[in-house]
């Protein structure tokens, strides 16, 4: 998998989505959060692919392979995909209790 530029995201826009964690891929060169977001606001249910940094980078910010677990209900803020597809670049996340992740 080749490494890409950030041009695919709308860097100046932020969108917040809530959903259920389907999978958290703890891999190089980017970790990926797969989030099932229920239908709402005229949009159908969708699986969002949310890109985080490499484990090298984010583990030093407190992230772990287990920070997101399948079934967790989370609220995630992202820079959305420019082309409108469900996904984006990770900005921040809160757990079901409203606490900022990762828990420090």
């Amino acid at each position: 998998m080749s490494h890409h530029s950030f041009a695919m995201f709308e860097a100046k826009k932020e969108v917040t989505v809530s959903g259920t964690v389907k999978d958290f891929q703890w891999t190089n060169p980017h970790s990926w959060l797969q989030l099932t977001v229920p239908a709402g606001g005229g949009k159908p249910e969708a699986e969002y692919s949310i890109e985080l940094g490499s484990p090298n980078t984010i583990s030093r910010q407190g992230w772990r392979k287990t920070t997101f677990k399948p079934g967790d209900r989370v609220t995630v803020t992202i820079h959305p995909m420019r082309d409108g597809s469900p996904g984006g670049a990770f900005v921040s996340a809160k757990d079901a209790g409203g606490k900022e992740l990762p828990a420090q």
């Binding site: 703890w26 891999t27 190089n28 484990p55 583990s59 772990r64 392979k65």
Partner: protein, 264 residues
């Protein structure tokens, strides 16, 4: 006053005790033998990795023997892209222990580094007492996570966290291991001056028993310096992404059809 000086000298001697003396592995070294990983079980005996049909005999489970045979067929068809031919990707463990070109074994009190000219590649072995990365932290990499300790002048290190099926290539015959592989390597300089690495891989998914291979390195003489190795520079063997086939480019930059090319 003299008594205090004597105490100070004694304290210095104690601090510089043999327990902290590390071996001299200086120089640039070169792998002895080819890059077929388990030469003791090579078939045919003088097979070179990359020769069509060349293989070794790891103690594979039936499932991994089947995967190996598929890879052997891919190699024969030039359809086995690997870290060497795709460029810029670490060759990974254990393959990093058997690349061509120069090796440096750099010993420091808290880490030992195996630096390969080819690649380049770095194996960092932490000897400061730290343990392997915990399960909720470790992520799969080509080179893995290595920690070790000294037994006299032998460095014993373990390696975990490999990519396995998703990227670990043991050699160009197509040999693979799983992401559950656990390496134990004993590295030391022999009496005859050769560096020796005894590498044991245990893999509950891919192997039916431990698989041990020994690699030897000889010291290069004269003014040897390690320079860049740039796989992508003038690379005549790119992989065609659409077909997965490794091409051979002629001097004009166009692919040669090896099946029909005739010797001049």
């Amino acid at each position: 006053m003299f008594g205090k000086t004597l105490l100070a000298v004694a304290a210095c001697v104690l601090v510089a005790s043999p327990a902290l003396a590390l071996p001299d592995w200086s120089g640039v070294w070169s792998l002895v033998g080819g890059t077929l990983y388990d030469r003791a079980t090579a078939e045919p005996k003088d097979a070179r990795a990359g020769d069509p049909g060349a293989r070794e005999h790891p103690p594979y489970t039936p499932a991994y023997e089947a995967k190996y045979r598929e890879n052997i067929a891919r190699v024969a068809a030039d359809r086995f892209p690997d870290p060497i031919s795709t460029c810029g990707i670490p060759v990974g463990f254990p393959r990093v222990m058997q690349v061509v070109d120069g090796y440096e074994f750099v010993v420091t009190p808290k880490q030992t580094w195996i630096l390969t000219e080819n690649g380049p590649n770095v194996v960092r072995i932490y000897t400061d007492g730290r343990k392997h990365l915990a399960n909720d932290l470790i992520w799969a990499t080509y080179t893995g996570d290595s920690v070790g300790h000294w037994e006299g002048e032998t460095l014993v290190f373990t390696t975990i966290g490999l990519r396995g099926e998703n990227g670990t290539i043991v050699d160009r015959t197509g040999a693979i291991i799983s992401d559950q592989a656990h390496g134990t390597t004993r590295l030391h300089k022999r009496e005859d001056g050769m560096m020796e690495a005894v590498i044991t891989i245990e893999d509950p998914v891919a192997l039916t028993r431990p698989w041990t291979v020994t690699k030897l390195y000889e010291k290069l003489k004269g003014d040897v310096r390690v320079m860049d190795y740039a796989c992508a520079e003038n690379n005549r063997n790119p992989v065609d992404a659409s077909t997965g086939k490794t091409l051979t480019l002629g001097s004009d930059g166009k692919p040669i059809d090896l099946d029909t090319a005739k010797p001049k």
